[in-house]
């Protein structure tokens, strides 16, 4: 049995008395799409932040393709092959869509001073290659028309596509998506679901996503984990989880829960 691509073991995190995560353990098999669902405040984003290195856990361990990454700096973890998006899609004010993508490519030799000043020929070659690939990605994500537009000029839905585009450019083996389908119209949701599935089938990526939209989860996820108040309370296929008594109990009678049921 191959090692899981992403392994989270007994992660706990306290925020000054508030238990955000309590001994959460889960495994994500390679080349699968996994969903993490739960009400607001159940600890999903905290888990993402810890896995990607933006937050330090109090105890527990995270392993990426078998290598421990707990406590490593976030940029280091990113360089090791973990890419993530943010709940609010980032769209830098003064950078164009193409600049965003070119920024995202990994292993750029021009990103040092010496490289910028002395290695100009090989860097130009790499830049051109990346530029061609970037244009392909923009075509795939319906953003080709905005290639040279400032990313801040994009609409909310387009910004979500830009996040995915950056992640495609990044070409990381493991991808964490934070609410990719939030606040977008059904057409776009379909495009996004397609892109996420393609990440797995065409590119062999492992994807973990946080979502409230159960329809989206049902469309793309192979496996689902349910968090509630910092604890893992259920796991299984989307269908299993939807009909799980524990899960249903956790959400019945709880006002702010926003698990949108499938039709």
């Amino acid at each position: 049995m191959t090692a899981p691509q992403l392994e989270i073991s007994e992660i706990s995190k306290n925020f000054g008395g508030l238990k955000a995560l309590d001994q959460v353990s889960l495994e994500v098999a390679s080349e699968t799409i996994v969903g993490i669902v739960g009400a607001n405040g159940s600890g999903k984003s905290t888990l993402f932040n810890i896995a990607s290195g933006f937050l330090k856990c109090d105890s527990g361990c995270v392993r990426l393709a078998g290598r421990p990454i707990t406590g490593l700096r976030p940029h280091h973890i990113a360089q090791m092959g973990l890419a993530r998006s943010f709940q609010v899609a980032r769209a830098p004010d003064q950078m164009t869509v193409l600049e965003n993508l070119l920024l995202a490519f990994a292993d750029q030799r021009g990103e040092t001073i010496a490289g910028a000043l002395l290695g100009r020929r090989p860097i130009a070659v790499q830049e051109n290659r990346n530029l061609a690939r970037a244009l392909e990605i923009l075509a795939l994500t319906n953003l080709a028309a905005h290639a040279n537009a400032l990313s801040s000029e994009l609409s909310g839905g387009q910004r979500k596509l830009l996040s995915i585009a950056r992640i495609l450019a990044r070409d990381a083996s493991t991808v964490l998506l934070d609410e990719p389908a939030a606040g977008i119209n059904p057409t776009l949701r379909g495009i996004l679901a397609d892109l996420v599935r393609r990440l797995k089938t065409d590119h062999g990526k492992t994807i973990v996503l946080i979502e409230h939209d159960m329809r989206f989860v049902g469309d793309v996820c192979d496996h689902v984990f349910v968090l509630d108040a910092g604890r893992l309370i259920a796991a299984g296929t989307p269908a299993e989880v939807r009909n799980n008594d524990i899960v249903l109990n956790a959400y019945l009678g709880r006002g702010p829960a926003r698990l949108k049921a499938a039709p």
């Binding site: 021009g110 910028a116 040279n148 400032l150």
Partner: protein, 299 residues
Amino acid sequence: MQFFDIFIYFATMIGIFGILALGLNLQYGLTGLVNFGHVAFYAIGGYTAALATIAGAPFVVSLLLAGIVAAFAGLLIALPTARLSTSYWAITTLGIAEIVRMVALNEEWLTKGSFGLDAITPPWLDLVPTAAYSAFYMALTWAVVGAVLIVLILIWNSPFGRALKAIREDEELATSLGKPVFLLKLKAMALGAMFAGLAGGLYAHYITFISPDDFTPVITMIVWAMVIIGGKGNLVGSIFGTVVIVGFYNSTRFLKDYLPFEAETVANLRMLVIGLLIIGVVLFRPQGVIAERKRIYKS
């Protein structure tokens, strides 16, 4: 004849301050680092070059030393501060500049304190005819400006420059894309500090006398005015801003015989205008006169 001399003086000072502005533009305009201690690197460069030349080193060595020591200082200063948020960074860099000035003022064994260092021999004095020397030095200064501009243009358009810009725009995003933000900030500070050090070295050999009074916090503020009025993130903007501010600053000095004010009042009025310009730019044209250019890629 006198007009020519004034022109050369202006041009040389614009060159020196232009290098300062370009360095700060790299730190603030491109990378978003609020460096309120820029004058410290100017001072460190000036004193290093002066001490080296007085000790007998050739000009080129003195100038290079000025740049290297200042770059090193930039690195040292960035080390404890690079993880701080904007406000804290600004305060800390201001504090460091003040300490540098205090050291220059008080450590007389090194810097001769308020007496300053004089007898800094200008370079190649015997090779250039005296009448043409000031023009020569102006050309020398602008040669350095040219070199600095070339380096900055290369950096600005490189993936390194793009990573710096990403830090300015969205540090978390840059981090999530694998950019070593802390290290990049160190590099940006060191590079900008190096340019400031070169400017200090050029200044020391031009005026041939430096003292702590040449390196007050006001200099930092003036250079900031140049960068944000001229246009942050735009290299031509920095030169433009330098021309405007240096022109304004020094013209009032030359015109003070014609103005009905005392010298001190004129100095205050200068500050008033520059302060109002800074506020005006922030309120009404935050991108500066010559805005940052959008990077267009042709497919």
